[in-house]
């Protein structure tokens, strides 16, 4: 047992959770336990706040009292400054969970003569730690000492001793330092605090401020090495979590309706995959928001929750506009199933938006997230930034199995099949809504550019925004090309007429044929009659011939009789009779 325990301790560096959103994920558990950590950064980047939050969270959430030794601000100023964040320092001090002490270093009051050390500081700190049993210590800008005292050699030696001493005390300490030229801190504190160094940065790009955090080093632990945006707001500091940057999220084969029946039909009859990312792109006024609203409506209609980030219109405006197409979003908002977050993209930096979206998603726990439109975000950063941000957002949502619908505005005629944000490869389903200008009118057409993992229609549908909502109908495709709108209707009418005409022509032809057939039949009759006539004549002629022949034999016999030849009268008569019989038979 014992062996196992020590082994465990050996392999895993014990960490102290900070309780600061995202920072614990970033550092995989928090700051190194029982060791000093250096937080450095320029003025106004939130060093004091971050360290103070570390103490407050420690006191309130992890039951670890803390000492805050301020070299720049008095306890009164401090507690006033963080009141807006909901930290009640006075109360914590009363409960003996926090010890605030101010170290004033006034150069004008101090004269240095001969040798000295900083034992007084040690004693004060030691007393503070012991009086409340502190586990956490913050020295807020210990570098202030360098401004007050001249003997830097002593100071350096004493600081080195201080950090060792803190380690020996077993407290988890944060030392803050002002960022210096060419090095992390002005006095090179990073030389002494070598276990964990966190750098805060505060930069302005295109008039928009972005705060970023980077773990410069973390001895004995893996950590995220990139710069991560962080945010200071009414709940303190939140750092953007990075756990999502892996492609190992679960997938669902469940399908959810898009809210538009025909669109579902186009998507293999069932709609989007749950947890997939849908992009609806199109030029201005093609009905992207309508698609989004239908989706939100359908989601809330199923009793699920939808979160709508609007970067273009105010929630009230969206609600009003969608009422005109019979999509009532207001009811869902009242029921608490739908939540709007509207902000101008230029209000803050991209990361700020991202962090805020994260927060909103974590708080509201939606099933569906809509961002309308993502294109406006580009106003606050470069394409690469936006892409990186959306990638994080998508991964984050996928991890949480949240279906996301983004709309993207395409500009002018550049409706080539790549969005400005180059996120086409990131989305699972891509709907493209297009304007078709023809015959003096603009019509909308929708098609599915891609939809991963489902049999989807490859046809273009006409996209109608009616007072009963969005409807998709088949477009006319034929020899005239693809027609929409009134041209389609005209063409359909034309086709109808053509068909009618054809039918008529056919009837006429049929009648003609009948006539012809009858004429031929009549002709056949006449010919038949003719041939019969001729036959009759033939028979008659033959009969005549025979009679003539018989007559001649009869005559000959008669003549022979007359000449007294050897012919009886019977033979003559017989010949006559047989002729008669023959004619009778006929």
């Amino acid at each position: 047992m014992n062996k196992f325990k020590t082994k465990n301790v050996m392999s895993v560096l014990p960490k102290t959770p900070t309780g600061i959103q995202g920072l614990d994920e970033l550092t995989e558990g928090g700051l190194p336990k029982g060791r000093p950590t250096l937080i450095c950064g320029g003025p106004g980047c939130g060093k004091t706040l971050m360290s103070l939050e570390f103490l407050v969270r420690g006191a309130t959430e992890f039951d670890e009292p803390g000492v805050f030794m301020a070299f720049e601000e008095t306890p009164e100023e401090l507690s006033q400054n963080v009141k807006s964040l909901g930290f009640d320092l006075d109360e914590l001090v009363k409960q003996k969970k926090l010890y605030l002490t101010h170290v004033k270093v006034e150069r004008a009051e101090i004269e240095e003569t001969g040798e000295y050390d900083l034992e007084g500081l040690f004693i004060r700190l030691g007393h503070a730690i012991d009086s409340i049993g502190a586990k956490r210590v913050v020295l807020d800008t210990v570098e202030a000492l360098f401004a007050g005292l001249d003997n830097t050699a002593v100071l350096r030696a004493e600081l080195r001793r201080l950090f060792h001493w803190l380690k020996e005390k077993g407290v988890t300490a944060i030392i803050t330092g002002e960022r210096g030229e060419g090095q992390l801190t002005r006095q090179g504190l990073e030389e002494y605090v070598s276990d964990c160094v966190i750098l805060l940065d505060h930069r302005v790009i295109d008039q928009i401020t972005t705060r970023r955090l980077r773990v410069v080093k973390y001895r004995g632990s893996t950590h995220g090495t990139n710069e991560y945006p962080y945010l200071i707001d009414r709940d303190g500091i939140s750092v953007l979590p990075i756990t999502s940057l892996k492609l190992d999220h679960d997938v669902s084969s469940e399908r959810i309706s898009s809210g538009i029946d025909r669109l579902d039909a186009m998507l293999g009859g069932k709609g989007y995959y749950k947890g997939s990312t849908v992009l609806a792109s199109g030029t201005a006024g093609t009905g992207k928001t309508s698609i989004a609203s239908h989706f939100a409506n359908a989601t809330c209609g199923r009793g699920e929750r939808a979160l709508y980030f609007a970067f273009e219109e105010s929630p009230k405006q969206i609600i009003r506009n969608m009422k005109s197409i019979d999509v009532n979003l207001e009811q869902w908002e009242k029921k608490g199933l739908l939540q709007f977050h509207a902000a101008r993209p230029t209000l803050q930096g991209l990361e700020m938006h991202l962090v805020q979206m994260h927060k909103a998603v974590n708080e509201f726990k939606p099933d569906v997230v809509i961002i309308d439109p993502i294109t406006n975000l580009i106003a606050t950063g470069t394409t690469m930034d936006v892409k990186a941000m959306l990638l994080r957002m998508i991964d984050f949502l996928k991890m949480k199995q949240i279906t996301a619908l983004f709309t993207a505005l395409m500009h002018g005629n550049s409706a080539d099949e790549s969005t400005n944000e180059a996120i086409s490869s990131l989305v699972d389903t891509w709907l493209l809504v297009r304007d078709i200008e023809f015959n003096g009118e603009r019509n909308r057409a929708i098609h599915i550019l891609k939809s991963r993992g489902m049999a989807h229609s490859n046809q273009v549908r006409e996209f109608l925004v009616t007072t009963e909502g969005v409807n998709l109908i088949d477009v006319y495709t034929g020899t005239e090309g693809m027609l929409t709108g009134s041209a389609r209707i005209a063409q359909e009418l034309k086709n109808k007429n053509l068909a009618f005409e054809k039918q008529q022509q056919f009837a006429i032809k049929k009648r003609e044929l009948e006539r012809k057939r009858r004429a031929v039949e009549i002709k056949i009759d006449t010919l038949q009659a003719e041939i019969e006539n001729e036959e009759q004549e033939m028979i008659y002629a033959m009969a005549q011939e025979k009679t003539a022949g018989e007559n001649s034999t009869y005559d000959k016999k008669l003549m022979a009789m007359g000449r007294k030849a050897d012919v009886s009268m019977d033979d003559v008569m017989q010949g006559e009779n047989s002729e008669k019989r023959k004619s009778n038979k006929k």
Binding site: G114, Y116, E119
Partner: protein, 118 residues
């Protein structure tokens, strides 16, 4: 222990000084020396201080030695960082001199003694 003796000694002196100051209508200087244990630096500092006071403020001073190892809570009030620290509580304004007080010139300047005596 040594320090305590000295404190007592200085207290006695204070009483004497008080009487003197009343007579001379001069006020007693209140000096406090903060130390942390009996370190060579503290001892040197006390020795030096005593010497200067005897020389320039004879009978007009009190020295209180505070050992922070015994009373750590006292460090905060006077904003003590360095050890040893000499604090001139009176006359005002408060002045602080840190170090073993080996530089006589600077101590006297720091305490504002030279001007008065000259």
């Amino acid at each position: 222990m040594l320090c305590r003796e000295k404190i007592l000694k200085s207290e006695n002196q204070t009483k004497n000084n008080m009487k003197k100051s009343e007579k001379n209508s001069l006020e007693t200087w209140e000096l406090m020396l903060y130390v942390a244990g009996k370190t060579p630096k503290s001892i040197t500092a006390f020795k030096n201080l005593k010497e200067y006071c005897e020389e320039h403020l004879k009978g007009l001073y009190s020295i209180e030695v505070i050992d922070l190892l015994e009373n750590p809570q006292l460090a905060e009030g006077d904003q003590i960082l360095a050890i040893p620290t000499l604090v001139r509580k009176f006359p005002e304004p408060i002045r602080k001199i840190i170090g073993d007080l080996s530089n006589k010139e600077r101590v006297l300047i720091g305490l504002d003694i030279k001007e008065r005596t000259i």
